[in-house]
């Protein structure tokens, strides 16, 4: 049995994509409406983080 508790290379993108963008959507009168929190898809912002975190470190000082 491998060590299944070793979460290798889990990035913030992987986490946010699951926690914020997946999971069952519950709505209706039992839910408190939190302005802008629920049912929001983070596509664009996640994409931005992904590009930030996958950029090779040596390119950080590169010309823009």
């Amino acid at each position: 049995m491998p060590d299944v508790h070793a979460v290798a290379g889990t990035s913030l993108v992987d986490l946010l994509d699951r926690v914020v963008d997946r999971g069952a959507v519950v709505n209706g009168d039992v839910i408190i409406s939190l302005a802008g929190v629920e049912l929001i898809r983070l596509d664009l912002r996640l994409l931005l983080i992904a590009i930030d975190t996958t950029a090779p470190p040596h390119s950080a000082g590169g010309a823009r």
Binding site: R18, V30, I32, E38
Partner: protein, 255 residues
């Protein structure tokens, strides 16, 4: 009606209320608890609603508010997931009080149990393949050719493009083989939205516990094959079945 300032933050639905969350803390350090209704459970913790104000409009960073809250959310879902099957709820699900929590469970019990039944005894594993797309080589005139004729140039160019196309087809084939092979160890899979950069494949697999060892061995073999094609395989897991909680409770089943 005045807007409430506190509520119950809901993390997941469980097929039983018998979950020991002693010592488990959720958002802002609030103690996690299980609310029971008709033998299903809702994992919750108390929340000051202001905690979530504007959280989605801030720039997300590695140690920003959203990242911290998402990790706290994940920690509670995982604590429950280590004991029982879980149906994770979307981040930001808040109900006013215990009565509302029980009504949530009562209204959605059958639908939730159907999903829980499907994910019970499984783990989610993420597989991502990254690579750099190769550009077709340019047609460079040979040194001993003063100048290739138009016909020669086109012929060479066709050869170069055909070669690039063949390589790309081969790479695509290897990717298809790998996804199919991994799927043999999984009960379900879902392609995840590409997270940008050089990601060419992003798939979540729902793997039965009995298949996890085989799945992991298969990913190692896949990683070796992919590396021959300038592709890198990354694996994350185990996750609670976030990507397989595809239940939309917008329409209630008993309506």
């Amino acid at each position: 009606m005045s807007r409430p300032t506190t509520g119950l933050y809901a993390y997941a639905i469980t097929p039983t209320a018998t979950v020991d969350l002693t010592g488990v803390v959720g958002l802002a350090g609030a103690a996690a608890d299980v609310i029971a209704h008709d033998r299903v459970g809702l994992v919750v913790s108390d929340i000051e609603l202001s905690l979530l104000d504007e959280v989605m409009t801030e720039e997300p960073t590695e140690d920003g508010r959203l990242a911290v809250l998402a990790r706290e959310h994940d920690a509670v879902v995982r604590a429950a997931f280590e004991q029982v099957a879980v149906l994770p709820l979307r981040f930001g699900t808040v109900v006013p009080d215990h009565t509302a929590a029980r009504r949530l469970l009562a209204d959605r019990r059958d639908k939730a149990l159907a999903v829980l039944n499907r994910v019970a005894g499984h783990q989610e594993w993420g597989v991502k393949v990254c690579g750099v797309a190769r550009q077709p080589e340019r047609v460079t005139p040979r040194v001993n050719d003063a100048k290739p004729s138009g016909t020669e140039y086109l012929a060479r160019r066709r050869t170069v493009l055909a070669e690039a196309e063949r390589r790309e087809d081969h790479r695509r084939q290897v990717l298809d083989d790998v996804t199919a092979e991994l799927a043999e160890h999984a009960a379900d899979r879902v392609s995840r939205r590409m997270s940008g950069g050089d990601v060419v494949l992003d798939v979540a697999y729902l793997v039965p516990e009995s298949e996890i060892a085989g799945f992991l061995v298969a990913t190692e073999g896949s990683a070796d094959r992919l590396s021959e094609h300038d592709l890198r395989l990354e694996i994350t897991g185990p996750w609670p079945p976030y990507s397989f909680a595809r239940t939309d409770f917008t329409e209630l089943s008993d309506a």
